[in-house]
Assembly symmetry: C2
Homo-oligomer: 406 residues x 2
Amino acid sequence: MALIVQKYGGTSVGDLDRISGVAQRVQRYRSEGHDVVVVVSAMSGETNRLVGMGQEIAGGTPDPREMDVLTSSGEQVTIALLSIALQRLRVAARSLLGDQVAIRTDSAFGRARIQNIDTERLRGILSQGVVPVVAGFQGVDEGGNVTTLGRGGSDTSAVALAAALSADECEICTDVDGVYTTDPRLVEAARRLDYITFEEMLELASLGSKVLHPRSVEFAGRYRVPLRVMSTFEDGPGTLITIESENMEQPLVSGIAHARDEAKITVAGVPDIPGIASKILGPVGNANIEVDMIVQNTGADGLTDFTFTVKRQDYEQALELLEPVVQEIGAREINGDNEIAKVSIVGVGMRSHAGVATRTFDCLASENINIQMISTSEIKISVVVAEKYMELAVRALHAEFDLQDA
Amino acid sequence: MALIVQKYGGTSVGDLDRISGVAQRVQRYRSEGHDVVVVVSAMSGETNRLVGMGQEIAGGTPDPREMDVLTSSGEQVTIALLSIALQRLRVAARSLLGDQVAIRTDSAFGRARIQNIDTERLRGILSQGVVPVVAGFQGVDEGGNVTTLGRGGSDTSAVALAAALSADECEICTDVDGVYTTDPRLVEAARRLDYITFEEMLELASLGSKVLHPRSVEFAGRYRVPLRVMSTFEDGPGTLITIESENMEQPLVSGIAHARDEAKITVAGVPDIPGIASKILGPVGNANIEVDMIVQNTGADGLTDFTFTVKRQDYEQALELLEPVVQEIGAREINGDNEIAKVSIVGVGMRSHAGVATRTFDCLASENINIQMISTSEIKISVVVAEKYMELAVRALHAEFDLQDA
């Protein structure tokens, strides 16, 4: 008998039939003797509908406090409906709003951080054999105001509850049956992973694999909450995201991630003096444009080429912002390319094995794919290539590192 | 400068344009220097949608606690949207949920009673020049559970807030411009009343005039909160519902109410012994069928005829319930009529004037309308007539008591 926190996303509770299906799934766990805490999102599309109304009536940027009151109503509907569906199956259940749990956060409306979770009420409910059905995504600040945790917030709610309750496992129940070695839409032979480490998952999550929000993975890693991604609709073990274990055989590479819709900007012929990087990236950051990879090369002439990548949607704005900067710092020119993509090889195994980088570059070279930028971390190698080569690069690397389905 | 509580119903906040319209209306009051507390309902249709979902997924009667969590989300959406709309007009505003106010109730989910309102937070917000936008219909019980006040609950919320804050007036802003002498759809010459007393309004409200929920009128009367029914969409003074004033010239009759969809049941030839009434009405009440008028006549033979009215929808069920009772108590027979209507004359003026009953009966007799039942209170005379005569009776009495538009 274990204590399990289960989180069901918007698609899993997308209509009344699906909510009833979730109730049956919870019932199965209960009949196996487990204690279950359920965390749910708003029904799919609901949060967007509410945000749309708020923006329309504001005619601009709506007040974030009021937006949190507005959007948190979505999860409120789901917890009530799921509790009713559970009771219909004779499973005792009780809905809990963020402030009823209580999930205490700071007051950063729209992107609040969880500060503290009071588990007394939850434990009391569990001890009565009742399933607490908790509204994800929402909390309450010190002043009693409703707060929300931002996109992916329900994952974070679930992980935080699992951590606070020292749950045996936190299950993220979704519409995919686990984490794959790469995008199955690109590579048919992509394989579901039984295990992956938090660090690898974090790299994959932030690289565009949509399965889990990076914040929830980080949180789970920090508090060592075993996290399992699995399907709401099909049986199966899913993928367990866990800490690296001594006796776990680590593959060299766990997965290949990709991010299309990237763009790169090069400020060329920059005098190589201190403070240049912040002069270039300052205005971009101030405009809330996220910069990803940054590469700087100094030539023999004492001039440097400064290249960085941004999301493609921010490309034109970033170029415009930098026009005056180029003048100011006396750079030779600015140019860019918005038809690039990023491909990344992720694996904790590469920590202790040399040669992964070489194999990566050789593999791409043998396919005649030119590498435009390289960025590495301890467990990741990212390369920027022309967008048209992205699929080929992913497939070639997937084969190179033996990730194919058996 | 006054402190005014304004309540806007579902039709008044039925879409984003209307919510923006309400914001403009509140802005006007603010610019005139008034302090305003706004109470809102869910957008029209929303509560029914939520109730429908809850009932569907329950496949029966859903848990009332969870239904309150579900339905209260409707008002939550409206308070956020109206606050945003006010802020767009540069009117400082802050939304407040039932528990944030706090509106403390008992734990009778779905029909909770307000026990206490903490006005400290509200006064603090008002003193900062901010408009509190309060979710109607909802409260919080001692255990921190969400409760709702039942149908018409937002009116009650507004009146209770006005009472707790000792507001100068509570405005019920709706889609009609006041209380009329009778239904304008029946009598073209129906006239809007400038004033009406709480007692009269209570009789009219419970007699099927849909403007105000009886509970809110009762509440306003008890706490002497001046209550004004007025249009959200048009300018005008509306109708002030107030206490009877010494120097207010009271008309004999203030209004004529009617209720179609009534039915009457007669248990005839009942032995006239104590306890008969409860033997007859007990099973009906136990089935949650509301009994309205009750008349008992005893004949010379020691046998009595016992007649009462119910809503037409409950007629068949009530007859069935009484079949065995008729046997048991040795009554001669049971019969009924489900094509009747009730017409009522209401006015505090009739207290001090004899002859209103006589004029009523004479008026109906002169139209050849047969009176089937009569029931009177201090300020009301109700008669049951055949449904087909209802319109004629209302028009004749409206003319008889000089209620016509000038």
